[in-house]
């Protein structure tokens, strides 16, 4: 996701709805996140822009709710249930995602392939 300072950031996002799996007392989401504004973004293997401090999906456990919902490794999480995830610490993100009361998390994620598809479609069907 690139941006020009001063310009609004646009991102193609996909809606992903993950139904948490209840296992005993645990709610299973089936994926891991990395990143956050408190972490060194330069080490993020998933981001294109190495200054991006967003929350990224680092792994998906197979057969888990996240996989079922279509979440992919490397996805950048933009929102969780409406909460912004682009400027949060790692822990804040985790808190928002693992709330015990909520059985469903709705994510807005962006990923490279999404943007590419959109770009392509925009190219092939130029706007009137």
């Amino acid at each position: 996701m690139s941006f020009i300072p001063g310009q609004p950031v646009t991102a193609v996002v996909a809606r992903v709805e993950i139904k948490k799996l209840r296992q005993d007392a645990n709610l299973i989401l089936g994926f891991s996140i990395g990143g956050g504004i408190d972490q060194d973004p330069g080490q993020n293997p998933f981001s294109e822009d190495k200054t991006d401090k967003g929350i990224y999906v680092t792994r998906i456990s197979p057969g888990g709710p996240a996989e079922a919902a279509g979440l992919k490794i490397g996805d950048k999480i933009m929102q969780v249930n409406g909460w912004d995830m682009t400027m949060v610490t790692h822990d804040q993100a985790r808190k928002k995602l693992t709330k015990k009361r909520e059985d469903v998390v709705r994510l807005l994620v962006t990923r490279k392939s999404l943007e590419q598809t959109v770009k392509q479609s925009m190219c092939s069907y130029p706007r009137p």
Partner: protein, 603 residues
């Protein structure tokens, strides 16, 4: 996109198939051809017999070949799902039931297919991972099949588990590779830092655990640090301190590269300076910690504890101190230990105790660092203090450790700070509060340090300790004759700011009072006394300690300390300087006096 699971196998099957057919055909030809020559032979009977024998033999062979062909065809069919047309059918024979093997072919996600541009290793692992993912999925589905006999079910479960394990390993590998990949391009920090950590292991500075977190960021910021100096800082300070830093470093470890020395003061200074303006408010800015991931499948708290794995090199990093109570109970032992070490250390008066500190902290440490770093400021700081306090007087020889320390300092502002503080002699009386943290080895476990406590690694740039290096350095340059009042005000302020429980605050005040009382009039020579005071204070304050015991220890310690030259707590260059500058000269009587004063104050 269809990808064959066992392309080699399939191919092999085909080719052998063909070979076989050719063989069979040739046999047939040979057979039919051989018929005619037999009629022309003279010895018909013998020849026919021989031919018959041969014929039989060939037929048997053909039979075998056909069987083999059948097997191969079936196998191929199992893989491809289609029975090959070469399948030898005898009249009346029915086509065999072909059951296609499950999982023979997987459709791979396009996303998972590695891109060519990436590193080849990562590529490979990615591909394998994608495949394994599918295999695991298939295995899982097999497990879920109903109407299975127990044995089959069991074996499938086993299979599934095996696949899952393999998958996890692959995932881990891929993740690691990715991390490396990601790191290597933008910032090679980790590779570089690792050796640093290793070296710093030996004589680590006070803040082992902090080091890691900071390392990456601080390293990158080493150079620009001088530029960042803040205007609010009194102008003489920064130049002085930086000059001092390099100057001081020399005596300690002449062998170590000068570069390191210079860098370390710079970085610490930088952090201190930048934070100065905001010193009053406690909340530290958000710091970059190493990029980590955390699984969302565990409850929030638990996850935290389990995380911390990313930092590996120094043992204490990931570990944290146990509850205060535990420390308290352990304190007497540590005291005794302290005694022992003290005596040992007497041979080498310069004595930074970094190493001991390290060991002790290790001993106390427990695996909760994650909490520290991530949130518990209150808790974290206290613990931190404990760590500091624990560091004890075993004294590694200066030259040995010097280089190491420096390196560790580079990366970490906190560590440098502590080293500064740690040398009792250098510090002015006004530094008392600080000295408590770093210099006072014994009492620390009690948690009396609370207020000063160092914030968790990510926060450690917070103003309190940051201040110290800058402030102290000037003292050094001026041969420690420094107006105490100014310093006091400044220092006490930030340190108290952390707003830990009341219990902690009072001793701060006390410290300040006593310190003023005792030290102000003091000539610079007597600097050692503050250390003694420090010792007393935390101990007394600690609610859990049996005072008698502590007092006894303290007294003996004092006596000893008076006898010998003052030792530096840190391996730092300052320590070395201190050695030169301050011979052991505190009058025993004086110290005792101080000690008593403090006691009364405390009570």
């Amino acid at each position: 996109m269809e990808r064959d699971l066992l392309p080699g196998e399939k191919f092999g099957c085909h080719s052998s198939d063909i070979n076989l057919m050719i063989q069979v055909i040739s046999y047939l030809f040979f057979d039919s051809g051989s018929d005619s020559p037999t009629t022309h032979t003279k010895d018909v009977t013998t020849h026919t017999r021989a031919m018959k024998l041969k014929h039989q033999e060939l037929q048997e062979r053909l039979e075998l070949c056909i069987l083999e062909l059948k097997k191969l065809c079936i196998r191929e069919a199992e893989l491809t799902g289609k029975l090959s047309e070469d399948y030898p059918l005898r009249p009346g024979e029915r086509l065999p039931q072909i059951r296609r093997r499950i999982g023979a072919a997987f459709k791979l996600d396009e996303l998972n297919i590695p891109r060519k541009s990436e590193g080849s290793e990562l590529n490979l692992v990615d591909a394998e991972l994608a495949l394994q993912m599918k295999i695991y999925e298939a295995a899982r589905k097999l497990c879920e099949e109903v109407h299975l006999s127990k044995a089959v079910k069991k074996s499938r479960l086993m299979q599934c588990k095996r696949e899952e394990k393999k998958l996890k390993q692959l995932q881990e590998m891929a993740f690691q590779l990715r991390l490396e990949h990601g790191r290597s391009s933008p910032l090679p920090a980790f590779n570089i830092t690792q050796p640093d950590l290793g070296t710093s292991d030996d004589c680590s500075s006070l803040s082992d655990s902090v080091v890691q977190d900071e390392e990456v960021t601080s390293q990158s910021s080493v150079l620009p640090c001088s530029v960042r100096a803040d205007p609010p800082q009194p102008p003489p300070m920064s130049p002085h301190s930086s000059a001092d830093g390099s100057h001081m470093s020399r005596p300690v470890a002449p062998q170590s590269p000068l570069l390191n020395h210079c860098q370390s003061p710079c970085s610490s200074l930088d952090s201190s300076l930048s934070l100065n303006p905001s010193s009053v408010c406690d909340s530290p800015p958000i710091q970059h910690s190493p990029w980590t991931e955390s699984s969302l499948d565990q409850p929030y708290q638990k996850t935290k504890k389990s995380r911390s794995s990313s930092k590996t090199s120094s043992p204490s990093k990931s570990e944290v101190l146990p509850p205060l109570e535990a420390c308290l109970s352990a304190l007497p032992q540590q005291l005794s230990h302290l005694k022992l070490s003290r005596t040992q250390s007497s041979s080498t008066p310069s004595t930074p105790e970094m190493r001991v500190h390290r060991q002790l902290s290790l001993r106390l440490s427990s695996p909760e660092s994650y909490i520290h770093k991530e949130r518990g400021r209150n808790r974290g700081p206290r613990r931190r203090l404990t760590e500091y306090g624990i560091m004890s007087p075993e004294t590694p020889s200066l030259p040995l450790n010097g280089a190491n320390i420096v390196s560790s300092e580079d990366s970490n502002s906190e560590s440098s700070f502590s080293s500064y503080n740690s040398s009792p002699c250098q510090e002015l009386p006004s530094d008392l509060p600080k000295q408590y943290q770093s210099a006072f080895p014994v009492s620390s476990p009690v948690g009396s340090y609370g207020p000063q406590a160092f914030p968790p690694a990510s926060y450690h740039r917070s103003p309190r300790y940051v201040l110290s290096p800058g402030v102290q350095r000037p003292c050094y340059t001026e041969e420690m004759i420094y107006p105490t009042d100014m310093d006091m005000a400044r220092r006490h302020f930030p340190q108290q700011a952390p707003c830990t429980p009341n219990r902690y605050e009072y001793w701060y005040k006390d410290a300040a009072v006593t310190h003023q009382r005792a030290h102000r009039p003091l000539p610079p020579d007597i600097r050692f006394t503050p250390q003694a005071q420090q010792l007393d204070h935390p101990l007394l304050c600690s609610s859990g300690l049996p005072r008698q015991v502590v007092n006894e220890h303290l007294k003996s310690w004092h006596r000893r300390s008076q006898l010998k030259a003052p030792r530096s707590r840190s391996l730092d260059r300052q320590g070395a300087i201190r050695l030169k500058n301050t011979p052991p000269r505190e009058p025993p009587g004086y110290q005792n006096q101080n000690y008593h004063n403090q006691v009364s104050v405390q009570k």
